[in-house]
Amino acid sequence: MNERIKKLREQSLNAVNKISVERAVLLTEFYGSVEARGKSIPVQRALSFKYILENKDIPMNDGELIVGERGPEPKATSTYPEVCVHNINDLEMIDEREKVSFKADEKVKKIYEEQIIPYWENRSIRDIMFSRLPREWKDSYNAGVFTEFLEQRSPGHTVLGEKMFGKGMEDLIAEIDDSVSKLDLINDPDSPAKIEELNAMRISAEAIVLYAKRYAEKLEEMSFSEKDPMRRSELNKMAEICRKVPAVKPGTFHEALQHYWFLHVGVITELNPWDSFNPGRLDQHLIGFFNEGIDNGSLTKESAKELLSSFWVKFNNHPAPPKMGVTARESNTYTDFTLINVGGVKPDGSDAVNELSYLILEVIEEMRILQPSSMIQVSKKNPDSFIKRALKIISTGFGQPSIFNTDAIIQELTSQGKNITDARAGGASGCVESGAFGTESYILSGYFNLAKIFEITLNNGFDPRTKKKIGLGTGMPGKFSSFDELLDAFREQVEHFAGIKIRGNNIIGDVYSGNMPAPFLSLLIEDCIKNGVDYNSGGARYSTTYIQGVGLGSLTDSLASVKYNVFDNKHITMNELLNALDKNFDGYDDIRKNFIEETPKYGNDEDYPDELAVEVFNIFHDSVDGRNGPRKSVHRINMLPTTSHVYFGSVIGALPDGRKKGEPLSEGISPVQSADRNGPSAVLKSASKIDHLRTGGTLLNQKFTPSFFKDETSLNRIISLIRGYFRLDGHHIQFNVVDASTLKDAKKEPEKYRDLIVRVAGYSDYFVDLVEELQDEIIKRTEHEAI
């Protein structure tokens, strides 16, 4: 790492997360202005976007090669009052909370009090949404049956495709003109709306060009006063680049990175979409520019690496906008989930690993920063040496990159109806979510607490925590004469709550479609321009709405325990069991011990519990998959938790697997912490029994002590483990390589371990930023696997 990158990296690491009111103020100014009046909603949105980009500060960080910040400085984080307006209490809480805080000083609070809150109160998407959602949705939400992704952040969950590296805004404006000219103004009653949307897209395209030009001017100014001739020539070159992109398509490696970064800043300035934004298959998008630069001598491997490193820092400068309440608990992290994809296959199906794939891995290894997150795509066509290179990074305990099964992702996407070329151009984003990059809107709508629904089933539809009957009356379990009756009751309850969630999704989709178009994002995802329809209204070529199942391991073990102990072996009656749960196992230590130690558990490659995992998976899948959703989408499932398994655990009482009240649930499709006793191969076998190909992603966490990664022979075995799991259609696996004593020390003395990054659940995070329950969970798991 050279001095410049070291400095930029340090600056980013040391920057304080704080709230910047700049965007909120500009947005509010615009909406209060004459300019906003009498315009359609999409055009208003586009004009507000333009107003922000025209007037926002355009900071430059010392020595940087890629320019553009969302806020006035690194980690100065915008708010989005049109989506969710924070009140003064919220700001104080965000400022003061121990984990994932953002400084909000008196000035911020004053501006909020005087300008932001008065305008946006009761106008924000969140306000509109909650006023329209039915009572049973709110009851279920409050009980912790599901979460809602779109209550504080807008739909995003998408990734840029390769085509956008070959187009500039001028090309897109030409496409917009073409789309407008093809409208049938007489026979298409939607054509007026389409004209407004297309106009909004045009304004947004012009706005981002204008923003880039502002940088060009600033860079030119800076070059005049720059004394160092080297830097002066750099600044001139950068100015030239900003004059060019994103107006026209990039022609060099440097231009391509700057081009993308302007688009990224545009997307996260327009709104606060989930998973920020993502350049996706970076090694594929850039390889042409890279080769050309090397061939014509304008680029060296070192200069490419420096540019990539500078690019990397930009991501790290942009934490996820502050979240609160349930949303903070389900996704408690500064990470904004940009997931760089490396490897995989080309659109023609051939091995896509190239020289740049390895160079990017080198950058990941050297930079060792939280953002962007990274992953490798592994197809059966990719060489083992590629996996081995990635494992060497993983073995340093960094938790990145994670490893994905390209062949599974392609099958998942094609089975949903995508054509194979679009599927091969895809990958995974966010934590583990499969998507067709550049062509799909695949919105995560919320986590779904399967274990909670089991608890409600055991209580005949009643939620013991909120003391409300929110489920169906499926019968008192004490009266069930067979395990199948219990399973049928559970199935009915899952269908019931899935229905409530889907009904809510339709309402929320309508709220966004009607009130919060995203014309800038719509420019970037095919076929919004061609269709003249906004991203948030179903303009993308493919639209999918996901509900993410959580607690598979805990639920499976609980069902297995009831089947084994109550029905098959009659160790205990159902009523005794319910009593023990009700008492949180107080006075039932022997029974609990029996549940934990003598009862079959998911994760050991034993069919008795694993068949129940499959059963549960199928129940959830069949309740959701194929049902229509907002934005002309279809509902699908995936299995990932981010941090929601901690929140979801906190709303559930004791469970029959021996878990006590309030403890975290199992995460992803991983077994319950410490329940797997036959080693990693058995875990992978268990996890592969559910049909990953009928999901849009599953998450499997494996924690290893460093000894498993110590030499070539060990690495080869890990490669075989991965290959074996992927042969069984496993979607994703991630490795945490760290010993328990290090983690314990970090918990005790966080100030000494600020840089310790661990794999959490589909993403990496600073260990010291994790809530205590998560820290303990990771320590527990790591100890368990120590040999």
Partner: protein
Amino acid sequence: MDGNIFDIKRFALHDGPGIRTTLFMTGCPLDCLWCHNPESRVHFKENGGKSRKVDSTYVIEELKKDLVFFEESGGGVTFSGGEPLHQPEFLVAILKEMKNNMIHTALDTTGFVDRSVINDVFPYTDLFLYDLKVMDPEKHKKFTGVDNKQILDNLKFIFDNNGVVRIRFPLIPGYNDDKENISDMINFLKDLTNSPIIDLLPYHRLGISKYKKLNIDSSTEFLSPSSDDRIQEVEEMLKINGFKVGIGG
């Protein structure tokens, strides 16, 4: 067919090539002073031992579970113990089924067994992990309780019949790490094969807690593992004589 085992360990990384599942079979005719699997010698849950009687079909199903990982890694199943050849019929029944499934088999043995048993398992064994402990017959008897003539004869037989062998040499400080023993071993092996492979297994103290648990006296309780330097010396000695050497299993 029933047999006695005390563990099935998956993702075993030290008992042969690739990812393996190791079957630990109960019972051993030897009584090595340094034994690190004392539970293998204790039958049927006596004294807290883990030995259990199981059916071969159950064992076969368990051993086949990681087939996909065996195939990906060039791994397979390892039979260890205890002395797996101590239960020859049970072992052959399982071995045959492994070979029917094209699974690589390794046999971790002391070789202290009738030739007829070696003959029985030979066709189904891809790799012999063959223990050589002490070359001097007197000392061998003293440290392990049995004579080593049969052990050495069987090893010769396996080599003569082109069996694939990795020698396992447990390095026990003060018992068999002397120069004389090592040169005897080198000379013996050089007569048998041109390309001997040997795994040096440095003594570790993991067995000690098991002795305590099992209420068995251990005469090696106060033994310390060899130093890294000593291990390296032995390794050099073997390498100079053309051996391929692995450290640890």
